[in-house]
């Protein structure tokens, strides 16, 4: 029993981190048909910036926000300089963001070196909760809580605000939305910026779980894509469900079949591709 609870909680914590990356990925793709490979690099860059600020005495939360703001500014710069020309051109935008990933990776290596950096959670959350023999780090609960809060904010924005209405309309039918006089381009900028902000913010928040080291982004990318495929392109609810599914499958797959750990993650992906290609919550293709 303890084994299952332990892995379930670990899987939820890891899955909620994946949500911070995948939510931006899925919204950006759903709206602009841009596959932003650099989403995980934003996460890593956010982690390093946050870490540097923390070692200079910044507050943990402020530092992660600052990391998010820097990656948001970077994301906006890249979007307005290059990417905005390549809507609905997945191949070109894919190559562009791949190039951005390489530049960011080498920049990170040059600035911060190649040693892995561990990141400690804020002191008040550093301990563990113990229930009998079950031990669970407090910080993991905090990460789960923060991710769900961010998910709630995103949902409310999409469902209850004018901006959200515009974004949803543009995801469904961009041409018609433009025809109705909606400034879709503004929504594009906002979504791209929000995606970069959440990923960058997640970097330091997730740091105590993933730590920061060159190549982390490359390890997270396949997982983030698995989430998007399972959940359905462009669906925020799908990203949340997909994150939790992949997080749990990852945890139980490794625990029950350690030698097949990469395989088990892609079992749900293969099943979805075979039986429901649009993903759990995606629109019918």
């Amino acid at each position: 029993m303890q084994f299952y609870i332990q892995n379930a909680l670990g899987g939820l914590a890891y899955g909620s981190l994946l949500f911070l990356i995948a939510s931006g990925l899925t919204l950006i793709f759903g709206l602009m048909r841009i596959i932003n490979l650099a989403q995980t690099s934003f996460y890593l860059l956010g982690a390093y910036i946050g870490l540097s600020l923390v070692t200079h005495g910044w507050n943990f939360w402020l530092a992660s926000l600052a990391g998010g703001i820097v990656t948001m500014a970077l994301g906006l710069a890249v979007y307005s300089a290059f990417l905005h020309r390549y809507h609905a051109d997945p191949l070109t935008s894919l190559l562009l963001t791949l190039g951005l990933t390489l530049i960011l990776d080498d920049g990170i290596l040059a600035l911060w070196g190649g040693d892995p950096h561990s990141i400690s959670p804020p002191a008040i959350f550093a301990g563990s909760l113990t229930f009998g023999t079950l031990v669970f780090p407090v910080y993991w609960l905090v990460v789960i809580g923060i991710s769900f809060a961010i998910a709630a904010i995103l949902f409310l924005t999409l469902q209850r605000t004018m901006l959200g209405v515009m974004i949803r309309a543009a995801v469904d039918d961009e041409e018609m939305t433009r025809g109705l006089g909606v400034d879709v381009n503004r929504a594009f900028y906002i979504v791209f910026a929000a995606g970069a902000l959440i990923a960058g913010l997640g970097g330091l928040l997730g740091g105590p779980i993933t730590s920061a080291y060159p190549g982390l982004d490359g390890e997270l990318t396949p997982l983030a894509f698995a989430v998007v495929i399972v959940g359905g392109m462009g669906s925020l609810g799908g990203a949340l469900a997909g994150s939790l599914i992949i997080g749990l499958v990852n945890a139980f797959g490794k625990a029950l079949f350690p030698e097949l750990s990469y395989f088990t993650i892609f079992v749900p992906v293969a099943l979805i591709m075979a039986f429901r290609p649009q993903g759990l919550f995606g629109r019918k293709l």
Partner: protein, 422 residues
């Protein structure tokens, strides 16, 4: 027509000029010695690559970048942490740039890729960090020398014996699923079970795993007397962090291999996560001996941190090869002579301790039981924690107590052969 004539004239005069010039001789008193240093300066092993270059250049800058009047010209080739790329770079170094010896690379698979090429082209290859067992066992070759290096299972044979003596009887192993992990775990499992211990379960985790908690929860469920663990780089950082977060650090004792608590990993970790962990290695930066102390102080001044075993290996390899070049007066025209000179060197003390080579090209040296503790003295300027020596096993061979001929009859360690019957 005029153009052709003048071109011909130019070509002829060039030819004459060439004939007039003296032919350069390889044994000229100041001919440079060209060294190809294969190191990953990009990719997953970039941190190790940095340390390797730092160790190597520190030694040569102390010694005027010359030996016996010959300047040492080192070119660093980036292997990109990739075996195929390492081979391309070795080819480029030898065929285009005329390298006379290869030092490095870092990863076992890179070393295995480069080895056949070097043997075929009769290029001396020095592997200070490539520890793959077979490069000095079943595939040993006179062109391959693990100068200032090690053999993966050499240190963990000792760990298996020690674990049994501590009274541990049921031990689990957790290692990365690649050559280095199999050999580390195999060395431990074989000596531990030979003494009468029992291996409860062996977990192979893919290299590059971020989330170790599912594996850790399996260990927790089995509740062994101790856990033998092999981790490298970021994997070590993740594992140590999560091991502590899940509250197991003071419950189940860890028997760590060398790389898990290497300085390059523990320097970034909170001391509370690592202090008190026992590990086995051929290097201990906290070893209380003049050769180690003076090296870590020099390295600290140059780099601002304490050295990893990678940096130390390349520093010591430079010292070793430098001494050998001294005995051949810098003449590298005959690779056989250079290789013999390198094999004959005995370091009575080095940052690792005393080191000599066996006839298979692997070092016989000290293996240390190490413990992570807070730094003291000069070292405290450069790091919070370091590995100090608890016990020294002197003069440990890659064959431990077996006769080489007997040992070589068994296959190399792999997931299917771990030195005991399941």
């Amino acid at each position: 027509m005029r153009i052709i004539r003048s071109t011909c004239a130019f070509a002829v005069s060039l030819g004459v000029l060439c004939m007039l010039l003296p032919t350069p001789s390889r044994s000229a008193s100041n001919a440079p010695i060209k060294v190809a240093l294969l190191a990953a300066t990009s990719g997953s092993a970039a941190a190790a690559g940095h340390d390797m270059v730092a160790g190597w250049t520190l030694y040569w800058s102390e010694h005027g970048n010359a030996v016996a009047g010959h300047p040492i010209v080192t070119t660093v080739y980036d292997t990109n942490s990739n075996a195929g790329h390492a081979l391309d770079q070795a080819r480029r170094a030898v065929e285009q740039d005329g390298a006379q010896m290869i030092v490095g690379p870092y990863l076992a698979n890179e070393g295995l890729a480069v080895a056949p090429y070097g043997i075929e082209h009769r290029i001396p290859m020095f592997f200070p960090t490539v520890s793959a067992d077979d490069l000095s066992q079943r595939q040993a070759n006179s062109f391959i020398i693990k100068v200032a290096g090690w053999t993966s299972s050499q240190t963990t044979h000792v760990a298996g014996e020690w674990a049994y003596e501590q009274g541990y009887r049921r031990v689990m192993t957790l290692a990365n699923s690649y050559v280095f992990g199999y050999e580390n775990a195999g060395g431990f499992a074989q000596t531990f079970t030979r003494r009468g211990g029992k291996i409860v379960n062996q977990i192979w985790a893919p290299l590059g795993t971020t989330d170790y908690t599912p594996y850790i929860s399996q260990v927790q469920a089995a509740n062994p007397d101790a856990l033998f663990v092999e981790m490298v780089g970021a994997d070590a950082v993740h594992f140590l962090q999560q091991w502590s977060q899940l509250g197991l650090k003071n419950k189940i004792p860890l028997i760590a291999n060398e790389t898990t608590t290497d300085q390059s990993n523990i320097r970034t970790l909170d001391p509370a996560l690592v202090e008190g962990i026992t590990s086995f290695g051929h290097f201990a930066e906290g070893r209380d001996a003049p050769a180690t102390r003076s090296f870590i102080e020099k390295y600290g001044k140059a780099e601002g941190v304490l050295p990893s075993y990678m940096a130390t290996s390349f520093y010591t390899a430079a010292q070793w090869i430098g001494q050998a070049l001294e005995t051949v007066h810098g003449d590298v025209s005959d690779p056989g002579m250079l290789l013999r000179a390198v094999r004959d060197i005995k370091l009575s003390d080095s940052p690792f301790g005393p080191m000599v080579l066996d006839q298979y090209g692997a070092p016989i040296d000290n293996v240390y039981i190490r413990r992570v503790v807070a730094t003291t003295g000069e070292a405290a300027k450069y790091a919070k924690t370091w590995n100090v020596v608890i016990k020294t096993y002197p003069h440990v061979s890659q064959f431990w107590t077996w006769k080489p001929s007997d040992y070589l009859k068994q296959p190399v360690y792999s997931p299917t052969f771990q030195g005991y019957t399941k």
